[in-house]
Amino acid sequence: MQRLLQILYKYRTFILLILLEGICFWIIVNSNNYHGAKYFTSSNRLVATIASASNQVSDYFRLAEQNKYLALENAKLRQRILSLSDSASTASLLLDSARLGIKAKVIDNSLFFRNNYLTLNRGHADGVHSGMGVVGPDGIVGQVLHTSTNYSTVISLLHSKTMISAHHNPTRTLCSVVWKGEDPLYAELLFLPRHIPITPGDSISTSGFNSIYPENQLIGIVSEVHLEDEATFYQAKIKLATGFYNLTHVYLLDLSGKEEIDSLNQEINKLYE
């Protein structure tokens, strides 16, 4: 017994190393499912406060650029008002404005990792809850992961778990968008069958089937198309509509039917299990 203790004592550093690495890998694997993990993300109050303080400084250097973007967005909105003469588009605008719930500011953003996250300055005090979709002025941005009282963490579109139900706009064909981790400007288009005519320049937008984003939010524009002789699906690259490099203002969307749709889908999944 004493010898055993002696051996344990002799190799205590190594044992502690194994133990700590074990804890680390356990956390890495489980942090997505484990609810307590949210205290160690950027929606934590202390972490978010520091991030937002440093953001205030860096914001100052980007003022001119941001003004330009806001002016552009204004111009686009004005254009839309001009085309509001027919009642059908008025109806769709009303629907959209009901959905544009909460305006938020991006206080932290990463681009170059395999899994990227954003931090927003709105939390559950403002009505944000996990699972909400986030869209920017040009296109979709991501989905809320964790919230605290005043801040929230968002899974960026630039994430290995991203899988967005989309459709190819000219033909309304269903397909999926994923991000392979190579370039923050481009994503891949999957499951678009070969009989559909597709050319660079076609736009890809959300299908509305996953009940995170509303229908017809722009995701990107097709930039490259390949088709192998035996392949069933196209290999296509899309240029993302959202400029993640200079994203500052985003909108959080709350789809009213989301919970009902989700619970219906769960019922279906249960049937097949």
């Binding site: 190594f14 700590l20 890495i28 950027s42 860096s58 990463s110 923050p184």
Partner: protein, 171 residues
């Protein structure tokens, strides 16, 4: 290790963590070179510190950095391994006759050649582990490896700059 050393070490750790999350986190060169200057905390732990304490320091600092990067566990895993390897690496690297200036390590006391051979392999291993856990496998092998290479050089440069800026020449 006296009380003053512990205090100085704590201040250094806090300042470097703050610098990491406010400044270094936003320094990305050409989309592929990242800066992890906080590694300097571990590189400068005095050699005679209790090993258990060293490992725990690595774990805690790692978790704090992870909170800011939203990568829970990844930095911690890399830091713990770095600290463990450093214990043995610093033994191998001991100059004949021991360290002149006691157990403290910095570029002024040890000289730049020694400091580079001491810290570059450690930084490289740390960043290698960091990016490959982050990529969850070897799917993007060459891309990840190039990121590791550029990041380690960038981090090494920043570490050297900090050393030359803040540590006075020994007389």
């Amino acid at each position: 290790m006296n009380r003053f050393n512990v205090f100085g070490g704590l201040i250094r750790a806090i300042l470097l963590i703050l610098a990491q999350v406010i400044l270094f986190k936003n320094l990305v060169l050409y989309d592929s070179a990242f800066c992890f200057g906080y590694i300097l905390i571990f590189l400068m732990i005095p050699m005679d510190t209790n090993r258990i304490v060293q490992l725990l320091t690595g774990f805690i600092v790692g978790i704090i950095i992870d909170s800011f990067y939203n990568t829970l566990g990844i930095h911690a895993a890399a830091c713990v391994l770095l600290v463990y390897l450093r214990i043995y690496w610093s033994k191998i690297m001991t100059p004949s006759g021991g360290y002149d200036s006691g157990p403290k390590i910095n570029v002024r006391t040890q000289g730049i050649v020694w400091f580079l051979t001491y810290s570059y392999p450690l930084i490289f291993v740390h960043i290698l582990l960091l990016f490959f856990i982050e990529a969850a496998g070897f799917g993007l092998f060459w891309q990840t490896l190039s990121k590791v290479f550029y990041s380690s050089i960038f981090t090494m440069t920043v570490v050297l700059i900090i050393q030359y800026l803040f540590y006075k020449k020994m007389k």
